[in-house]
Subunit: 455 residues, 2 copies
């Protein structure tokens, strides 16, 4: 019983500050641009975001204090455990030491509450009593419902209709936490009504759901909008993951050689990766050879196959344009089960770090991710979300390379969420009904023709 | 941040011994009887249980060592946190201090792995490579599947057909951990075939599923049987819950005045309650006024309305008879969603303690339990299983009495599991489709006429 299986921290170890990687980037981040081609002013966004959030979005400060009320709410589930995957190592027969940060233990079952809680707090502080948002598979919507409940804020969620129909349990969790949930396209907004007029049977898309949520927030003075990934402040809030993990590694006198995390919008990847990149930026010897790897689906390979260009954040072109790796804002990814990774772009911060070769990226096929998730579940007992299976796959692949080379590398991945609401996907995998999607080359080529013109 | 929200222990605090309440009972436990009316010998049970389990079943030793391999597996999720329910207290406006032990964080999502793991271990140690069992809603089946996977044991689960059809996600978790799952009644056993011959559309019952699992274990030399509640060794294993909770209370210098736990077979109730009753038995002053309360459904009120008599453990009368509070072994409880509490009897140990007035019991109606579960989810962020909602209801009722009386009592309940696989029940509650069942007086009267004759 000498080496612990879980490295735990006390609640007093919950970070007091978030880490802002902007302070350590070799070049300043590229600003989002408005329809006039000029950087978007905070004022233009204040109709849907509170000032505290906008300040964080634009901030260059390295450390940003976490309000006491947010740390208090974090205590419901944080600090999250860092696990040593002894059993997975034995199953693989690898000399690698595998660790994972377990974000699946949050009330909503993923890392998303790390940012939902501060977003709800800052909105409440600004006197906002209603939030609107969109959700695909439901991870983000349920997290914001939970956070809204913590601070007495009403939450309305536009849920992509196909998920609304296929994932009733996720919908129920949002209702349990008091949120209103509407299938998108809905009759509640012009964007929804316009779509339904053209196509009454439309099953929705994340882009359209964003349009509905933004329209509602922009049109109502009492309502703001909240986003679950992509933006700087979202990644900032998620750095509690990596900051805790660093304390946990320090506690056992270890440090990772490589870090893996699934990457859709980029928030769980940034959350675990950025605080370690801070060590590298500071010239810390132990981080000298650290490699941080974003893992994405082959069917939606934003970093590995996309272009680095200005593009819209949503499918309809309602948002400012941001410089990022993109497959084109109207690219519709194949129907893989990792709904959280079906996004055409990547966070501007993650994109710039990738462009400057400070991080790496790999793409993996769907079946191999479920195979890895099953190995993990059987070895470690925790059933991972399909998104999380991507990070596990890449980590297992590296552990198997270590087996070949004999290198006892220290590997870390972020277990971003559990798969309790995704068992239908595992069912299809068991039944042989899951397919691998090739890189959708023609669709990407087509959508890249619609990139917005800049300057 | 002075009072922690979660009281945590290190892995080195995982108990080294289970606590056996038999050593502290005023009277020795009544033995199970065989068809001849004589106490059942260990030999008679050795066809389906390993000797180590049978020794524990019969043991009068106060402390029984936990094998290193079991403690090693416990480390995947234990020690579980003890939470202070600050937010629930504020929501209720009560001066009571409410604590809950969080068993929902186990891989299978409930307290059941606490006994599944040692049962799998002892069977493997005895050279048994296959286990058969039954499951209703799936909590026990998934826990044994997980534990079997830990020790390389094949697990076959007979799942009540109506649950097999209604809860595909629970079935999938078992398959994820490598178990075979069959809808019961099945074609695999004589018991199943006999039922299907009479009624091809039969939806199954826990009693019939037990019969199938026992028949398979009795008929195959390589296969044993495992039970998830009721028996002495099962309650023994669950005492890790209360033993940890005592250490956690000691850490903050507190002690409960009252303890609440749902009670079906009795294993989570015994698990949290027995170690505290040990203090009372030892004359410990702080436990002098401790009250330990079993909470059951009004529709299946074994302790509060049943008779204390010898009865079968299963519906078909295959098992030895045990002295326990029972509603009659062929009593079919109404279809409440807390499937784990739909059992006609109660553990013989719990029954004897209740008969000797060392513990208390209350019965609560279904709708009130979901109301309590929803309050808890909104205050504390964790969605509880329908079974767990029973303990929460009784605890909230006491906290509200404290609000009236102004007493700052310290209350503890066992959060036995999460409700992630029970969201359809919450959906029905939201939609107004859940009903309250009255005490099924006539059905109980009828089934009590079938109690076995003794002596």
């Amino acid at each position: 019983m000498s080496t612990p299986t879980k490295i735990l921290l006390e609640e007093s170890d919950i970070p007091t500050h978030w880490y802002n990687i902007v302070a350590d980037m070799p070049n300043p981040p590229t600003p989002p641009l408005g329809p006039d081609g000029q950087p978007v002013s905070p004022e233009a966004l204040s109709a849907i975001f509170p000032n505290a959030i906008l300040e964080q979005e634009m901030s260059g400060e390295r450390w940003i204090a976490i309000p006491d009320e947010v740390r208090e709410a974090y205590r419901i589930w944080r600090p999250s455990p860092l696990h040593r995957a002894h059993r997975l190592e034995r199953m693989l027969g690898t000399p690698a030491k595998i660790y994972y940060k377990n974000e699946a233990i949050s009330p909503a079952g993923s890392h998303k509450p790390n940012t939902a809680v501060p977003q709800a707090f800052y909105n409440r502080q600004a006197g906002i009593m209603r939030l609107s948002t969109e959700t695909g598979a439901g991870q983000w919507g349920s997290s914001l419902a939970f956070a809204g409940q913590m601070f007495g804020i009403a939450v309305r969620v536009y849920m992509v209709k196909v998920s609304y129909q296929q994932k009733p349990s996720r919908r129920s969790t949002m209702q349990t936490w008091g949120a209103e949930v509407f299938a998108s396209p809905s009759e509640m907004t012009k964007a929804g009504r316009d779509m339904l007029a053209v196509d009454p049977n439309n099953l929705g898309s994340l882009g359209l759901a964003i349009s509905e949520a933004v329209e509602e927030a922009a049109g109502r003075a009492d309502t703001n909008y909240a986003l679950g990934s992509v933006l700087n402040h979202v990644l900032l809030h998620q750095t509690v993951i990596g900051l805790e993990a660093k304390k946990q590694f320090a506690k056992i006198g270890a440090y990772p050689d490589m870090i893996f995390a699934p990457c859709g919008g980029g928030s769980n990847f940034g959350g675990i990766g950025f605080p370690f990149l801070a060590d590298k930026a500071a010239g810390d010897a132990k981080a000298k050879n650290l490699r941080v790897v974003a893992v994405e689906p082959i069917s939606c390979p934003t970093l590995t196959r996309g272009v680095y260009a200005y593009d819209y954040g949503d499918a309809s072109g309602y948002t400012p344009i941001m410089k990022m790796y993109t497959l084109g804002h109207d690219f519709m990814p194949p129907g893989i089960h990792a709904g959280g990774l079906r996004y055409h772009g990547a966070s501007p911060l993650v994109s710039q770090l990738f462009h400057e070769k400070l991080i790496e990226a790999v793409a993996v096929p769907q079946l191999a991710t479920f195979e890895a998730g099953l190995m993990f579940a059987r070895a470690e007992g925790i059933i991972p979300a399909p998104e999380s299976c991507h990070g596990i796959r890449a980590c297992i692949d590296e552990a198997l390379r270590c087996k070949q080379s004999g290198e006892p590398k220290t590997l870390l991945f972020n277990l971003s969420g559990h798969g309790h609401f995704d068992m239908a996907a595992y069912d299809r995998y068991f039944a042989g009904g899951l397919e691998d999607f090739a890189y959708p080359s023609e669709a990407v080529t087509a959508s890249l023709k619609h990139l917005p013109k800049v300057g």
